[in-house]
């Protein structure tokens, strides 16, 4: 009962001196988390601070004594703030500093108006609440960062496997970047769909854009070639540089049974032969 009164009392104090707190906090934010002032105008920042103080009072009034938890309103405010900061490339430290400067502001306040056990309880309650708020900002930051990474990954895989029809019955897949299992799956599907649609007899896999060919990448390539063959199309692997040929042999990568050529031009010539088409003569 006593504690309950304590947190109510604290809420009352904060409410009573709201304008003072907002002013103090704003000063601190400008001093400690100055980068925030780059993205928010003074009025915006003051409004955010006002909203936060209101929300904090609400939490102090309603929550279980001694255990203040950030409620939905505070979490939403924090999330909005962190997201805004992430978009504007503000480090999470600045956002956290913003939140933590509330702690010092409130400490100053209660030290002036409470004493003894009541002061202790108030400091404890404030610490708990503000620490939890700090954690929320970090979590939100991480989440929005993860979202960005996922989006970029998706963009990368979506744009990564073009299947180009270079001639009648000849497909070309320029492979760029690392070839892992998930990308092999995409490549396989793209290639098979391409073969099915165009009824191509030959597919050229150009690997000059793959930085490293280790045994895993080779296995993926072999898998792709086998798949195309099952469908009834031949595969030619081109773009094997001297360095890659060395690594492949040194690693013991076995490409027997797979047609390879050094450069794409040679691969194209072979593709014309294999698909039973005459080479376009020079000057045609």
């Amino acid at each position: 009962m006593n504690e309950r009164n304590g947190s109510m009392e604290l809420a009352g104090i904060i409410k009573g001196k709201k304008e003072e707190i907002c002013g103090q906090w704003h000063k601190r934010v400008v001093r400690e988390a100055e980068r925030l002032t780059d993205i928010f105008s003074e009025r915006e920042l003051k409004r955010i601070i006002h909203d936060f103080v209101d929300a904090v009072v609400h939490v102090m009034e309603t929550n279980a004594p001694g255990k203040p938890e950030p409620d939905a309103v505070i979490i939403e405010l924090l999330e909005r703030l962190s997201k805004e900061s992430t978009i504007n490339n503000i480090s999470p430290t600045d956002t956290a500093l913003f939140v933590f400067s509330l702690k010092d502001t409130l400490f100053d306040l209660v030290q002036g108006s409470l004493s003894g056990q009541a002061l202790n309880d108030a400091i404890l309650a404030i610490s708990m609440l503000v620490d939890k708020m700090g954690l929320v900002t970090f979590e939100t930051y991480m989440r929005s960062r993860e979202g960005v990474i996922k989006e970029q990954q998706k963009a990368l895989t979506d744009a990564s496997i073009p299947v180009v029809k270079v001639w009648d019955k000849v497909l070309l897949l320029p492979l760029i970047g690392m070839i892992d299992s998930s990308r092999t799956q995409l490549m396989l599907e793209a290639l098979l769909t391409g073969i099915e649609e165009t009824q191509s007899k030959v597919a050229i896999l150009d690997i000059s854009g793959i930085p490293i060919v280790d045994s895993l990448v080779a296995r993926h390539l072999i898998m792709t070639v086998s798949a195309a063959r099952l469908m009834g199309a031949e595969c030619i692997i081109t773009g094997i540089s001297s360095r890659i040929s060395q690594t492949m042999v040194n690693l013991g990568v076995d490409l027997t049974g797979i047609v390879t050529r050094g450069i794409l031009a040679d691969g194209l010539k072979l593709a014309f032969e294999l698909s039973g088409q005459n080479l376009p003569k020079e000057g045609d």
């Binding site: 396989l188 599907e189 098979l192 769909t193 073969i195 099915e196 009824q199 191509s200 007899k201 898998m223 086998s226 798949a227 063959r229 099952l230 469908m231 009834g232 199309a233 049974g257 032969e273 294999l274 039973g276």
Partner: protein
Amino acid sequence: MSNITILKLKDDIIVPIQAELHDRSAQKLQMDILQKIENTGAKGLLIDISGVSIVDSFMGRLLGETAKMAGLLGAETVLVGMKKEVVITLIQLGMPLRNLHTALNIEDGLERLERLKSRRGLGKRQVAL
């Protein structure tokens, strides 16, 4: 159990499979094909599986074995019209069916068959591509 038509075209045998095969009917089909080769003395076998969208390891093995058996009877085998779902399944099952000849469609398959036969010294010689 649906019967699958087995056609004879000159000295080739064409088997268009247009329905999903169960284990039992697949085995019966293998038997029928081999008997047909035996009876007609066909030199080429073309299996069109464009109507099949489910192939398991049993079917994969059966197809490979049928080709080997036909080879023993003196006939070359070409498998045509494999769907991409089927291809992906077979690859994931680790059955690339390396010793099987394949083609995109019946037309290409017959061409391929002619080439294979001429390589064996059978049938009409064709200009190699």
